[in-house]
Amino acid sequence: MPEGVHEDPYRILFSETRCLVEDDGTKRTRWRQARQVLTVKAEGLGFGAFPFESNAKVKVSKAWHVPPGEKAERGQGPPVDLAISDHFLTDQKARFVGFVDLKRGSLVFFEFEGAEEPYALGWIHDFYEGAPSAISRFELETPAGWSVRSAWIRGQGPEPTESGNVRVWEMRDVASLDREPLGDPPSDRVAGLAINIAPSPGTAIKPAVVHDWPAFSSWFETLARGSDGVTPEIDAAAKKALAPTGGKDFYDKVRAASLFVRDGVRYLDIEIGIGGYQPHAASETLANLYGDCKDKATLLRALLAAEGVASYGVAVHATARDTVASDVPALDSFNHMINAVPIPPDASLPDFASGAVADGGDLGKLLIVDTTHHSVSIGSLPDFLSGKRALVLAGSRGRLVTLPSGDPRLHRIERRIRMDLTPERSLAVSMVSRFFGDPASHVRLHARRSATERRKNVEARVRHVWTDAEVEEYTTDLETADGAAIETVGFKVPAARAVAGHTRVELFPGAGDELPRTSLGKRKTSVVYDVPMTIRYETTLVGVPEAAVTPDAQEVKGDGWGVTTSFTREGGELRAVWELTLSRTRFAPEEFPQLKKLWAAANATSDAAIRLAP
């Protein structure tokens, strides 16, 4: 037992997952782990959990405890099965066994075994288990003659050692990882192993054989067959939803149908058995006006079909990055469904929707639509999908595509500020903030959850930036036709304290802090922004005395970013523009000097002010 105080409450000495795939495709998984408690605060550390669903049975669940200097004891009492998902209805459970009364130095051993009838023989094995691990091993045994393909995702791991039909991948000294601000979550920083298994030719097994992504797509098509049928009710709903568009313009039609689904169907996830993959019939979702992502995607397909617009479902991972291996299809690669609508060659899209267009290869250009998230406007992609690989579910034509990684022009914050300077040097300010893309989604999300709380947050920001401002007006337009969210705030700011008789009026107050920052001194991991973006301030200061000096324009550029200012003056009116463009989202530790340069430039340029003489 290592001396001293440890940052991790326990360490894994050995962890082994052994998967035995049987002749009929049944998957037997045995998980064994040995862990050592490193703290006296050992509550909750003595339990092991083995997740399973209704297609699996837990056959073995055992635990042993060796207190320091004492004999081993075997776990007593019945195992506990608990629902572990926050879905509305779910069959996702975990079997818990273990011990309550542990000591610092205690060794705890778990062994579980389950038999599962998988829906398809492709999955991802994660080597990170939330604690440092000395040895983490994954062992796979298949019947003779079966093929096994594997690929590392999110990094590179070791090649397997093979012995007959058994393959073993082993990682050593997997470190503990912390969550850091503006960073990837720990689970996204450790390599995972994608596995795909196919039986020998001619062998019939229960699980689907998805040897490549088109096969995966075909499997889904079989599952969803008939669910997107156009019933009279769907036809009527489509006509009603699309009536205001005149039914001609491609984008207008897609937008109208998508808004109907996005706003009209409440999100409700019922994930039981194959229901985790199989959508409900579109007609049922329409009648219920509730459903999960795949239900919504299916209803949208049916509505569009009713109007003669073809579309596809698209499988993607909403929460983790780099989940897709090009040649190794795995069910766990995806946990979310959206839509792709082929864009007719003669159709034109509004400029703001260009960030939602993916190259579908022989499927053509695809307009990507996510109707699950109420705050995401049609023509925009949420930050968590940006740049991800996804599978277009087009039956045997199904293919992987890369979702657009974002364009700084489309994720914007524009603040137009008019400041009227009074003779007493107080300010009457009107600020119109227009948010586009991802920033707009965040505004809508907050405001729709509670408009009152949103207003409070806006007022707090105003008072932080303009000391002691009193907000007098606040209005919103949360979703314009081009997907913008607009907030207008009117407020008064008392005269700033004069220094040496001079008063300073900042021209871009708060601009330098719009781009989130974090301490870099000891940071070892990349700083990651959600999306590339543009932040623009346009300030008009009215009532500027003739003698006041106009600041000089500035331009600073770096690798993947730029900041500019410009100033024009007409009589007592000064127009000032500050714009920051961030076209990259990731800064590795060796690129931190570049990031510091960006932040310093944002400080320097946003500090522009007019100095008013006594």
Partner: protein
């Protein structure tokens, strides 16, 4: 309905009469489905932020909970609500929180009333079972259902009667106010007749709520409860929003004399702990108390002796906890053992101090006190779960309890100081005669002093600013932080210290260290050092201004709203002394003259002094904030005072290019 007189809100014990009458109870209510059409009043309800109406309005919520069915209990429930937004539709996702494995759903209805008059039913057989957990053969399964077709403007109406042997808690707290308004509320409770039971309506001042009871049950009814709305620095939710608690009392408890009996029990336990007086006398002898010392001096010496000689195992440094081999200390709950082991838990040290004080001739009593971050003591609610801490009240014989000094000997605070979350509220004083009430006094601003001294120096090329300062916290200032820092791992401690030093993308902290964190009774002291990213000073710049605020000045609370409904409650009154030397940038000299601001107010004083020096400027800032609470009618004045402080803190220093360099 008339507003409830507060006197009627006190808790009442329901006395259960044997052979209760079979006549219809006056509290009886019948839970039935709501109308299958929307009333004109319901149709007219719309979102109105000014009235706190956002996503939904509860039109009716009514419950009958019957625990008096032998081994069974039943719950009848009805909810009718108007959905006003997409977010409000979540109310249509229904979970019936009773174990269907040990009971039955006897009745059910659920329907959506659409704005056009259409009714969509959800039948009982459409409810789905969800397993929550299974241990051996015991499983908990509940029913869930989703009402269909819900759109903003719909009314949803559902209800059920569940009957079974599902576990029933000893106490239930039902909030009267929610994030949405409630138009009509009824709750009837029929407790198990074999147990003593009580109920308590709390914080219902201003709410239209009333209660009725008979020999078997209680009915609480109300209407037009506004939505709960949060304000910064408000009292805890339990002391702000209306609620009704239904609870059982220990069967042996005398409900007419509950607090006296509890107080006597506490005193018995503490007195037994100290019943062997030999070790206590030995301890007192080892304290070297001067001959002729008065009682108060003796009590202080004993207090300090305990802090130095008996380790509080509850508040040890994590390093101490981790190096402890562990033994059977918890099995030896006596003063003798604590004195021998030279360590004990917070409560054991309180008991021991009580014994020492009594042996020194003082009247000493154990005090039980709530944490005011959670709740205050409600005497009408007969439950010891309200209390969170133990203190000791000591006084000279012959003096009333009001003259007592309340101390917390295991806390590491000086004699007479107790952790701030126990201050400013009433507490229970336990004696062999029963209970009495004491106010734990709030601490004074002059005892809670934070002193910061530092220097800010520009780099030779004016590209960055080096900032260093040290801060000493006194009294309550930094007390909780210090406890936290001692209890976390070294890695987490470093992260937290950097946060305290203001680490950010603008300020890169190079040094963030505590001083003497190991000493239990020492105040928190930290030393911070780092580089502040600045705009840079080009050769063109002739005048350079620089804001005086930064991580070295704690951010003031902000109150954006012009109106205030609840009192402001601070942690403690405070004093801040800040002294910071600013060097002029290279090639610059101060151009602003001296500045002195002084803002006295009923809530304290703020003083800011900026004086040019040979090398730059010296900024001295003093803030005394005296109130623990600010009443709503003082809000505007207080807000103006804060504005003055913020205005002062936003002052800037100005430097001009010196003649030699220009």
């Amino acid at each position: 309905m008339k507003h409830q007189d507060c006197a009627l809100c006190v808790g009442l014990t329901i006395l259960l009469a044997c052979g209760a009458s079979f006549a219809k109870s006056k509290t009886d209510i019948k839970i039935v489905p709501g109308p299958t059409s929307m009333s004109e009043e319901e149709k007219a309800i719309q979102s109105d932020q000014a009235q706190g109406i956002e996503n939904a309005v509860i039109l009716v919520e009514e419950t009958v909970k019957n625990d008096d069915l032998g081994t069974d209990s039943s719950v009848a429930y009805h909810l009718r609500a108007k959905v006003l937004s997409n977010e409000g539709r979540a109310l249509a996702n229904i979970e019936i929180p009773h174990n269907i494995k040990v009971g039955d759903l006897k009745e059910w209805w659920g329907r959506t009333l659409l704005p056009d008059g259409t009714i969509i039913e959800l039948k009982e057989e459409e409810l789905k079972e969800q397993s929550l957990g299974k241990v051996g053969r015991y499983e908990t399964r509940i029913l869930k259902g989703a009402l269909r077709g819900v759109v903003p403007g719909s009314v949803i109406d559902y209800g059920y009667l569940y009957s079974g042997t599902d576990w029933s808690p000893d106490s239930i707290r039902v909030p009267l106010q929610r994030p949405w308004p409630v138009r009509r509320f009824r709750y009837r409770w029929i407790p198990y007749r074999g147990s003593k039971a009580a109920f308590r309506v709390s914080r219902a001042e201003g709410l239209a709520v009333k209660s009725q009871q008979d020999d078997r049950s209680v009915l609480v009814v109300g209407e037009n409860f506004p939505a709960s709305a949060e304000e910064p620095w408000m009292p805890p939710a339990k002391e702000t929003y209306g609620a009704v608690s239904f609870y059982y009392i220990e069967r042996s408890a005398d409900t007419g004399d509950y607090w006296n009996l509890e107080a006597k029990r506490i005193d018995r336990v503490a007195s037994y702990f100290c019943s062997k007086d030999g070790p206590i006398r030995d301890a007192i002898r080892s304290m070297s108390i001067p001959d002729g010392a008065d009682l108060k001096t003796k009590l202080r010496i004993a207090y300090d002796w305990l802090a130095s000689n008996v380790k509080n195992t509850t508040l040890r440094m994590l390093e101490e906890q981790e190096s402890d081999a562990g033994d059977d200390r918890n099995e030896r709950n006596t003063a003798k053992w604590v004195l021998q082991a030279k360590e004990g838990t917070s409560t054991q040290i309180d008991f021991l101090y009580m014994g020492l004080a009594r042996a020194l001739g003082a009247l000493a009593h154990i005090v039980r006190v709530p944490s005011r971050t959670e709740n205050y003591w409600d005497q009408a609610m007969m439950s010891m779960t309200q209390f969170a801490g133990t203190l000791v009240a000591v006084r000279e014989p012959g003096y009333p309890i009001e003259a007592a000094t309340i101390v917390d000997p295991g806390s590491g605070l000086p004699f007479g100081e107790v952790p701030w979350w126990f201050t400013g509220i009433k507490a229970l004083v336990a004696s062999s005669n029963g209970m009495s009430v004491a106010l734990v006094p709030p601490t004074l601003a002059e005892r809670n002093v934070e002193t910061t001294k530092g220097r800010q120096t520009f780099a030779e090329d004016n590209s960055s600013l080096h900032v260093e300062w040290s801060r000493t916290y006194g009294g309550q200032q930094g007390y909780l932080e210090r406890r936290n820092l001692r209890s976390i791992t070294p890695g987490d401690r470093n992260v937290r210290l950097e946060q305290l030093c203001g680490a950010s993308g603008r300020f890169e902290v190079g040094r963030a260290e505590p001083i003497d964190l190991e000493t239990f009774t020492a105040p928190l002291q930290i030393v911070c050092e780092g580089e502040l990213s600045i705009s840079g000073i080009s050769e063109k710049v002739t005048n350079y201004t620089f804001a005086i605020d930064g991580a070295w000045i704690a951010r003031l609370p902000d109150f954006p709203s012009k109106e205030r409904r609840t009192p402001i409650v601070f942690e403690f009154p405070r004093t801040e002394h800040h002294t910071m030397e600013f060097s002029a940038p290279a090639g610059f000299e101060p151009s602003s003259g001296p500045l002195i601001l002084k803002h006295p107010s009923p809530f304290g004083t703020y003083t800011l002094s900026i004086a040019p020096t040979e090398t730059g400027c010296l900024v001295e800032r003093d803030l005394i904030l005296t109130p623990l609470t600010v009443a709503p009618d003082q809000y505007e004045t207080f807000r103006m005072f804060l504005s003055e402080i913020k205005s002062g803190d936003s002052s800037r220093l100005e430097f001009k290019r010196s003649k030699e360099s220009s």
